[in-house]
């Protein structure tokens, strides 16, 4: 029996894996672990089938067909690891000499801990700024993470299941199978619903969470912000249900804004000003004298009429009447009113609760969003509008409210006091996260690069995540204009299938992947990506065959801790059997490559920086490692563990126990009340940051790079391209959802999951409303085409249901494989990405995330109906 962390999604539940005579024969949860409470999902249980899949890559493969492309046979030839390493070293060596920035690195979001050492540290050591998360723009969240970072110092929010009485879900599934602490949240959500938590789900289709909710509100895709802004307006204007104290002291609501849209600042200290109501004068927001401040009114500051930003928000929201929103989102005004009223009342503004002897605000309501609500052109403002509801009633990171997911505060492991970090205010008093796994912190915005250095131009913006600009049709023109001196040269990919997970595969292939001279991919299957684009394929070890540092700890990027009080856990991933055949954990290859390329010291330095940024502290590998010592991952893990948990808790301890846990504290879970940080109800800094990015774009002759008018301070609803489609022929809005049976495309090759997916009416089908189906003469099981106005098509079988809006069709993501290397996944389900474009029109101008809804027409396949 080996205790390790499941790797079938980023929920990373602690599991006991049973090995008999060298064969892995069983897997179970570990009841004592707060990571899953001993429960385990279908994906985790199916690990065995992934480990022993005869389609797994077992040997390095080299492309013999010089032609690349979708559907082109790569003509794989088995080579030895020596040959593979020589080839890789020479290609990377050349790139290093020419321009290291020509190296493009891509890593899977499913294994954040592995990704850190496999990709992020190597990228840094190599000296390239270029990095993308496989499916980052598509499946993850630019808008969601950005807004989560700004408002909660975390990449997402989740209800405080223990105390929450009313949760509104906007296109998210927390606690219903999503990867976010999947099994922990599933139990907590079930407990909450059993306790009587009301769940209200806004979603175009009757998702799992909607079907178990008290109320399903069928909303048009991409219109969440319109509904939420109307509700915010109602809370402020009609129901007066907002937490004045919270807005005064925990937001920038009282900050005075001049007519130019920017804060009016104190001349001496440079900090924003507020109106001191008691002394009737303007003062710095952080002045001790300010015992009460104005949220409304107009105040004269040195002859300029300034307004508290809350007043601006309030005025701005007036135009979002429920009637107006109703026309946009297809939800009746009375429903919006009723839900807003309930939300305001249930928030119990002013009430408190005592937990562990600490008196805290009690706001048992939460407005929760994730993937679904942010898959739109307006995603940054969509997410902001949704999270705003929490910040109006003061239900952020207090008992019962919307809690940061991947808690931003940890006061240290009790045994050593290490692993300590917390949030802090910047000079404007706004919340700064102290740990963030991506390029830079979500706030404050970094100085944009002039000219940008990255191929996706991400570094000339302030977004803390990724973009797909590198695959736009005009990428070459952009690179020339921005004087980017290098071009795509070598790519290293860790466990991604970019063909299936970035957007339209044709576009990505043509505009981007074809431009690389050499692509090396570490993976467990030969996916569509390897077959279409890779030159060298290296057989990675799967999660049961390798080590990983902390799979659970918040700062790794994807926290798996349950919400609320309980226990923290540091869990490792360790091999339960030796890698079979010639499979090798990618990290071993990367460490060897670093040595071969003479990057050993730079790798150690990058690892030091990452470990300390992610886990806090001042660990220095150089001080521990002998300069002549060959890099070894187990050794590095041992150093990290001992540094955090003491000399008796090195790797050996974790190999034996699998994990270490300790109690959470009230100050960590409900951190907002204990930290003097504010969040913006008025995003003044976006005006400033947007201007800087715009100036760079204008300087290099690309003034229309994005729609700069969206770089504003107040939330707005803006239509997606689907909302403005004029051709009545394209009458259905297609969107995708994530089935709890799968983790992106990786699990589609698993025969157990495939079998239950086939038995499930939704995972492999196109869900179509009964009435719409009747109107179109479509029957259950019919083979139909969905086609967008650009002629891109996807084919699949129809499942007729009343659980979807009549004007929408829903498709589960990442199905519809065709690669020979994934025979089980082949021809199952619908490949939705075929329909979505990678271009400016489908890119959020603020967060640069992708819009993934599409207007389609639906027609029957010419062939006979069968099956």
């Amino acid at each position: 029996m080996v205790t390790t962390s499941c790797g079938m999604c980023y929920g990373t539940c602690t599991v006991n894996v049973r090995v008999e005579d060298g064969v892995v024969v069983g897997i179970e949860g570990v009841p004592d672990s707060p990571q899953g409470y001993g429960n385990i999902c279908a994906k985790g249980l199916s690990s065995l089938m992934m480990l022993y899949d005869p389609s797994r890559l077992n040997y390095p493969l080299l492309r013999t067909n010089p032609e690349k492309g979708i559907g082109v046979d790569p003509g794989w030839k088995r080579i030895s690891w020596n040959e593979a390493m020589d080839l890789l070293t020479s290609k990377l060596g050349e790139c290093l000499k020419k321009d290291p920035r020509g190296l493009y690195t891509v890593g899977s979001p499913t294994f954040p801990a592995e990704r850190a050492f496999n990709v992020l540290c190597f990228r840094k050591a190599f000296g390239t700024p270029n990095y993308y998360t496989g499916g980052g723009g598509l499946h993850c969240g630019n808008g969601a993470h950005m807004i989560g970072g700004i408002y909660h110092a975390s990449w997402s929010v989740i209800p405080d299941f223990k105390y929450c009485n009313m949760a509104i879900y906007w296109g998210c599934s927390k606690g219903h199978g999503a990867g976010h602490a999947a099994n922990v949240a599933a139990k907590q959500a079930a407990d909450a619903k059993a306790r009587g938590m009301r769940l209200i789900v806004f979603d175009p289709f009757l998702s799992t969470q909607a079907s178990t909710a008290e109320e399903w509100v069928p909303i048009k895709a991409g219109t969440d912000a319109a509904a939420a802004l109307a509700m915010a307006n109602l809370l402020l204007s009609e129901y007066s249900a907002y937490d004045k104290e919270y807005i005064k002291w925990k937001t920038n609501g009282p900050y005075l804004v001049a007519p130019d849209g920017l804060y009016r600042r104190d001349k001496k200290s440079g900090v924003p000003l507020v109106w001191n109501i008691i002394d009737k004068k303007v003062e710095p927001f952080n002045s001790e004298n300010v015992k009460d401040c104005a949220l409304e009114g107009e105040f004269d500051v040195d002859g300029t009429k300034c307004t508290p930003s809350f007043q601006l928000l309030r005025n701005h929201l007036k135009k979002y009447t429920p009637e107006h929103a109703s026309e946009i989102c297809g939800v009746s005004a009375s429903t919006l009113r009723r839900i807003a009223k309930d939300f305001g009342e249930e928030a119990r503004i002013g009430s408190t609760i005592s937990i562990d002897g600490k008196t805290l605000p009690y706001r048992p309501v939460a407005s929760i969003y994730f993937r679904g609500s942010q898959g739109h052109y307006n995603q940054a403002w969509d997410c902001m509008s949704l999270v705003l509801l929490n910040h109006l009633v003061g239900s952020a990171d207090v008992p019962g409210g919307a809690l940061a997911f991947g808690p931003p505060v940890h006061l240290g492991y009790p045994g050593t006091g290490r692993l300590k970090y917390s949030v802090e205010p910047d000079k404007d008093g706004l919340l700064v996260a102290k740990n963030w796994p991506y390029a830079h912190l979500p706030y404050p915005p970094p100085e944009p690069k002039d000219p940008p250095e990255r191929l996706d131009l991400q570094d000339m913006f302030y977004i803390p995540t990724y973009t797909t600009i590198m695959a736009w049709d005009n990428n070459e023109e952009l690179w020339q204009k921005f004087k980017i001196p290098y071009r795509p040269d070598v790519m290293i990919s860790f466990a991604t299938n970019q063909i299936m997970s970035v957007g339209n595969p044709k576009t990505l292939m043509k505009n981007f992947l074809q431009k690389f001279g050499f692509i090396a991919s570490f993976n467990i299957y030969s996916t569509e990506f390897e077959e279409s684009a890779a030159d060298l394929v290296l057989p990675d070890a799967c999660y049961l065959e390798r080590y990983s540092s902390a799979t659970t700890f918040p700062t790794v990027g994807v926290s798996c801790h349950g919400t609320g009080l309980g226990e923290w856990i540091w869990a490792i991933r360790q091999p339960v059997i030796k890698p079979m055949y010639e499979r090798r954990p990618m990290i071993d290859v990367i460490l060897e490559l670093s040595e071969r390329l003479g990057l050993r010291d730079r790798y150690i330095e990058a690892a030091r920086e990452w470990v300390n940024r992610a886990y806090g502290g001042d660990l220095d590998f150089k001080k521990v490692l002998d300069p002549k010592e060959k890099l070894n991952f187990e050794r590095m893990l041992d150093i990290i563990m001992k540094d955090r948990f003491g000399p008796d808790k090195g790797l050996d301890y974790f190999k034996e126990h699998g994990y270490l846990k300790w109690d959470k504290r009230v100050e960590e879970v409900y951190w907002r009340a204990f930290n003097d940080v504010r969040v913006p109800v008025y995003l003044e800094w976006i005006i400033r940051a947007g201007r800087k990015s715009r100036a760079i774009a204008e300087k290099y002759g690309v003034p229309d790079l994005v729609d700069w008018s969206a770089h504003n301070a107040l939330p707005e609803w803006r239509p997606c391209p689907t909302h403005t489609e004029k051709n009545p022929e394209y009458d259905l809005e297609a969107f995708y959802w994530r089935s709890a049976l799968h983790t992106y495309s990786m699990t589609m090759q698993n025969p157990w999951l495939n079998e239950v997916s086939q038995n499930d009416p939704y995972t492999y089908t196109i869900q179509l409303n009964t009435e719409t189906a009747n109107r179109k003469g479509v029957k259950e099981g019919d083979l139909v085409w969905l086609e967008n106005s650009k002629g891109s098509k996807a084919k699949g079988r129809v499942h007729i249901t009343d659980g979807i809006r009549p004007d929408h069709v829903a498709i589960a993501a990442n199905a519809g494989h065709w690669s020979k290397g994934m025979p089980i996944a082949k021809d199952k389900g619908v490949f939705f990405n075929e329909l979505i474009e990678i271009d400016k029109e489908h890119t959020c101008p603020v967060s640069l995330g992708q819009d993934i809804c599409v207007k389609v027409k639906l027609y029957k396949d010419g062939g006979d109906r069968s099956g």
Partner: protein, 321 residues
């Protein structure tokens, strides 16, 4: 892009397995097999052969007194039905276990009836088919007793499968008192048809032809009546029964049920029977008789097939929960 075609679902992919569909669930084990192995079709043949074989024996001994035809009937049951059953079983070597629970299981009972029937039937026929060393003669009281035993057990063989199906509580299309009479009537009619065919093949005259024709017509009319009652019953019964009816009348099964069982197997033979009386020559009459017998037999097979196919379990979970 060319991949868009190959990336979508191939026709080989089963959309959903029937077991997992909401609502009524088709029984997949009997008649055509959940795993769709051809051997699974053998069960239908076992039911069919048991019914018509036993029927033939009864008709041949009771009404016609044809030893050959009775022997054929006996063999159809003793060999045909037995082989079909063995082919269907997952573990045929353990077939003897099928007899172990007559107290509660209709399969045990039916197979015991079958063994008893084959034993009595064989004993009764023995003196006439060359086993003249047996210590009884045809026509003796003992032989008559054997015959009564054989006919009684044959009748049970003809009716038991109706009880087998009727015992399935959740399959509303089966769980009806109509099943035993329906199967019995079909067995008699099938037996009559088999008898005709045997005699025609032997080139012998058909004794009691008028009586037989009358019986046949009565049987055809009553089978039709039973089917009408059966269908009407389903129409006014539960949603599952209505779904079964829909299957019987509007899907592929309708070809077997309406096309073969009702039209070809009932209405055509009925009109042929009427026409046969006024047929110009005896040859024409016997060709017509052969034709209508074949049609009746195919109707018999089809009705059993259709009823098996229409076997839908009531949803495990009633709606609205």
């Amino acid at each position: 892009m060319s991949q868009s075609t190959s990336s979508s679902q191939g026709d080989a992919c089963v959309l959903q397995q029937e077991d997992f569909k909401p609502g009524a669930r088709t029984q997949m084990e009997w008649g055509f097999g959940g795993r769709r192995r051809w051997r699974d079709g053998a069960l239908l043949m076992a039911l069919f052969l048991g019914g018509v074989g036993a029927g033939q024996f009864v008709v041949s001994t009771w009404l016609i007194d044809s030893v050959t035809s009775a022997l054929v009937g006996l063999l159809v049951v003793g060999v045909g039905k037995t082989v079909a059953h063995l082919m269907y079983l997952g573990q045929p070597k353990r077939f003897y276990r099928l007899f172990l629970k007559p107290k509660t299981s209709w399969i045990s009972r039916g197979l015991i009836f079958m063994v008893v029937f084959v034993a009595f039937g064989a004993a009764y026929l023995a003196p006439d088919i060359g086993f003249d060393w047996v210590p009884w003669e045809t026509g003796s009281t003992f032989s008559d007793a054997l015959l009564i035993g054989a006919i009684l057990s044959a009748s049970l063989v003809m009716v038991y499968d109706g009880f087998v199906l009727a015992s399935c509580k959740s399959i509303t299309a089966w769980n009806t008192a109509l099943m035993p009479p329906l199967f019995f009537t079909y067995a008699v009619a099938g037996g009559t048809a088999m008898t005709y065919l045997t005699l025609i093949a032997m080139g012998s005259d058909i004794p009691n032809e008028d009586t037989l024709t009358t019986i046949d017509s009565v049987l055809l009319v009553s089978m039709f009546a039973l089917l009408v009652i059966y269908v009407m019953n389903m129409k006014t019964s539960t949603a599952t029964a209505r779904e079964s009816l829909r299957k019987l009348t509007t899907t592929k099964v309708a070809v077997a049920f309406i096309g073969v069982a009702i039209i070809a197997g009932l209405l055509v033979p009925l009109s042929l029977t009427l026409y046969q009386g006024v047929a110009a020559t005896e040859t024409v009459a016997s060709v017509l008789l052969a034709l209508s017998s074949i049609l009746e037999l195919s109707g018999d097979l089809s009705v059993r097939h259709s009823i098996l196919r229409a076997g839908l379990h009531a949803p495990v979970f009633s709606e609205g929960l």
